[in-house]
């Protein structure tokens, strides 16, 4: 059964066409990478897909949406705000409960930010912030993850670690990324966008980065 289903969808931004008659089907369990140059329409497409699943997905927008003055713990905890009562949330805001700290710490450890757990996110490096955002998405534990460049600010080693964790924790994964090698290694379907259109859509099996060069050629 198709989880996402787009039929002849177009979108404009400031009068410019950013998506031009896109049709797309994505089934549950698929891991899809959106590739293409900046401005090809990846972010807009992800936003449309996120709207389609109406909040049942964890979202990792390009701007990570972190609360800079809150600690790493609180930013990760936000991923489960909907699972607890207001009073429980309030108590954790003022003084984190041990039970929650332990659960969040386990995820932070996997993302390599455990020692920063109680530092305000605003004081972390770009890479640490990005990993905090990923940790929040993992903690949210939705079946679907939609991510816009979730590994743009970390090195390759960490990028692999992040993508492995994402794949382990979510059954359906949709991510936009620049790095074609990683896209091929960690997803099983690649959708190539160019000038607001889908110009490529095929399984990654047997693919090499060279096959994607056309997308980036001027």
């Amino acid at each position: 059964m198709a989880l996402f289903d787009l039929h002849d969808v177009s979108a404009r931004y400031n009068g410019r066409v950013v998506l031009d008659n896109i049709s797309l089907c994505i089934a549950e369990g698929e891991r899809v990478a959106l590739v293409g140059r900046s401005g090809a329409g990846k972010s807009t497409l992800l936003r449309l897909l996120y709207e389609q699943c109406a909040g049942t997905a964890s979202l990792l927008p390009q701007e990570p949406g972190l609360v800079r003055t809150l600690s790493v713990f609180h930013n990760i905890y936000i991923g489960r705000l909907n699972r607890h009562s207001l009073w429980y949330n309030l108590a954790n805001l003022i003084r984190p409960l041990n039970k929650e700290v332990d659960a969040v710490r386990a995820i932070a450890r996997r993302m390599g930010i455990e020692e920063k757990l109680f530092e305000p996110v605003g004081q972390l490096s770009g890479g640490q912030q990005q990993r905090t955002a990923v940790a929040r998405a993992l903690y949210q534990a939705s079946p679907i993850l939609i991510g816009d460049e979730p590994v743009s600010a970390v090195d390759e080693h960490q990028a692999r670690m992040v993508l492995e964790n994402i794949n382990e924790n979510h059954t359906t994964v949709l991510i936009a990324m620049h790095d074609t090698t990683l896209a091929i290694a960690y997803t099983d379907r690649i959708i190539g966008l160019r000038d607001a259109r889908i110009v490529l859509d095929r399984p990654t099996a047997g693919m090499t980065p060279v096959d994607l060069d056309d997308l980036y050629r001027t």
Partner: protein, 506 residues
């Protein structure tokens, strides 16, 4: 892209809109100066000055045995008033999209805390409620507006990622409040500093704060005591950020509540008489029924009030405000280099900082009071007091602003640097600060009437003194309307000139 007004003016070889606006305001101030009464009426304007100066350098901390109590009272009223205002202001900030809330806040903040005090004195007498409400009510209006702007400007990105189905309050607490909270804390501290000044000044209408003791010390010519009181006040204000810790706040608040003077009966009959009868315009109060004759009498009453008191009050208030605004601007542009690292070395700047701190920590009401003692009642003391205080505030902000400015290594120095580099660069920021202070200067101008200068406050104070509360209330409403009008005009000018329209500390 549309070209800005500035670019279009430049293309035509005309001065920029900012320069033109400045010239218009200076022109208005010059005209106002011709109309203003700035005569010095005392026979020997400097006779008291020697004794004041002597008192200033020989503070006598033993002159009042109640010095400590006066200081504690000043802090207590400020703390309670500002705390109440923070709670109410925060709650109203959440409802600031409601038009009625916005209008209500604009109205309550357009009335100066001294006028609120004069009103509550009639209702509650010299009870603690009078002082607390006089600070809390106008501050609530100000805080609601500022907090709603802070919430508006806070980063909205976290709202996108919160999981669906989270309760609205949880989302607010986690995704919106934390970012605004930092700014709330900074602003609340700044408000407390203003609250200390307001609280001190409330003493002049009889509350047991510093102003009360200042007033009696001035009257007795005991300037050594005046100087001791002011020095303690400066220390309290200057060290506020050291003693004002979040954890200590509950202790302070309990202390403040315990300190409040008791034993003043609040009479319900008094309150009802004030609200139900005293403030009702005289012709209505006297009328048996609302008929044509009553309405005619009311019309006559209103017209007479307007032409005999409101109009002269408005004219004088505006004359004084315009002069003080322009002189403040000139003063600020003269003073800011004193604390700017672009003009003076570190040691020299200590002097500049000391001068600016003292001038801006002294409430303009007290400065005006001092100059009135010297020169007698005319606009001159008020102009000097308002201009000094406001130039020091704006000069301080501009001076701090120049600290972070980058200047190329081969830039000119001294006057050339000032005229060709710094001044053109700070001018938009300077105008933004100055126009932001416009309404504040107007509020203060009205208040200085209580000291005998015939601005609106003079007529309001006289009406209270004559127990004609209907007239007092009418004039307070006129004053509030004038404030709102100037505030609106100032906002229009700022947005037309594309000056940054919100300032989180003014």
């Amino acid at each position: 892209m549309t070209s800005t007004a500035r670019e279009r003016a430049a293309a035509r070889g005309q001065p920029s809109p900012m320069v033109r606006t400045s010239v218009v305001f200076v022109g208005i101030a010059v005209l106002a100066a011709f109309a203003a009464d700035i005569e010095i009426t005392t026979a020997d304007p400097w006779s008291e000055f020697g004794r004041m100066a002597l008192g200033a350098v020989t503070p006598d901390f033993t002159a009042t045995e109640r010095l400590a109590e006066a200081v504690a009272m000043t802090v207590a009223f400020a703390l309670l008033g500002v705390t109440v205002a923070n709670i109410c202001g925060f709650a109203l900030a959440l409802a600031f999209h409601v038009r009625a809330v916005r209008v209500g806040c604009a109205v309550v903040r357009a009335v100066h805390e001294l006028f609120w005090a004069l009103i509550f004195l009639q209702i509650f007498g010299l009870s603690p409620l009078t002082g607390i409400l006089a600070i809390a009510i106008p501050y609530t209006g100000i805080i609601a507006k500022v907090y709603s702007e802070i919430l508006e400007e806070a980063d909205h990105a976290p709202l996108r990622i919160v999981p669906a189905g989270s309760s609205r309050i949880s989302v607010f607490l986690f995704a919106r409040l934390p970012e605004a909270w930092v700014h709330f804390k900074t602003y609340a501290l700044y408000r407390l500093e203003c609250g200390l000044r307001s609280s001190a000044v409330l003493g002049f209408v009889g509350l047991p704060t510093l102003g009360y003791h200042l007033d009696s010390a001035f009257r007795q010519g005991n300037y050594a005591e005046v100087s001791a009181l002011l020095i303690v006040f400066y220390i309290i204000v200057a060290t506020m950020r050291r003693w004002m810790h979040r954890r200590l706040l509950p202790v302070y608040l309990i202390g403040a509540i315990l300190m409040m003077p008791g034993g003043v009966d609040i009479s319900m009959a008094n309150i009802l008489r004030f609200l139900g009868s005293d403030i009702v315009p005289f012709p209505l109060r006297m009328a048996q029924s609302i008929d044509g004759a009553t309405l005619a009498a009311l019309g006559h009453w209103t017209a007479a009030m307007f032409t005999e008191e409101a109009l002269p009050g408005i004219v004088n208030t505006l004359i004084l405000t315009m002069i003080a605004l322009v002189v403040s601007g000139i003063g600020a542009l003269t003073m800011f280099p004193l604390i700017s690292p672009k003009f003076f070395g570190k040691r020299q700047r200590i002097f500049g900082h000391a001068v600016l701190v003292i001038i801006r920590s002294t409430p303009e009401y007290i400065l005006a009071y001092v100059f009135l003692q010297l020169w007698g009642p005319s606009m001159a003391p008020a102009i000097v007091a308002l201009s000094l205080h406001n130039s020091a505030i704006i000069g301080h902000l501009i001076g701090r602003h120049t600290e972070s400015m980058k200047i190329r290594a081969d830039a000119p120095r001294g006057v050339n640097l000032y005229a060709y580099d710094i001044l053109p660069r700070i001018y938009p920021q300077f105008l933004a600060f100055l126009f932001y202070r416009w309404e504040v200067i107007l509020r203060e101008t009205a208040i200085l009437g209580i000291l005998g200068i015939p601005t609106l406050g003079f007529y309001i104070d006289s009406a209270f003194a004559d127990v004609r509360y209907d007239r007092a209330l009418f004039l307070i409403i006129v004053t509030a309307a004038l404030n709102i009008a100037v505030d609106t005009l100032s906002r229009r000018i700022r947005s037309r000139l594309r000056l940054k329209t919100t300032l989180d500390n003014g």
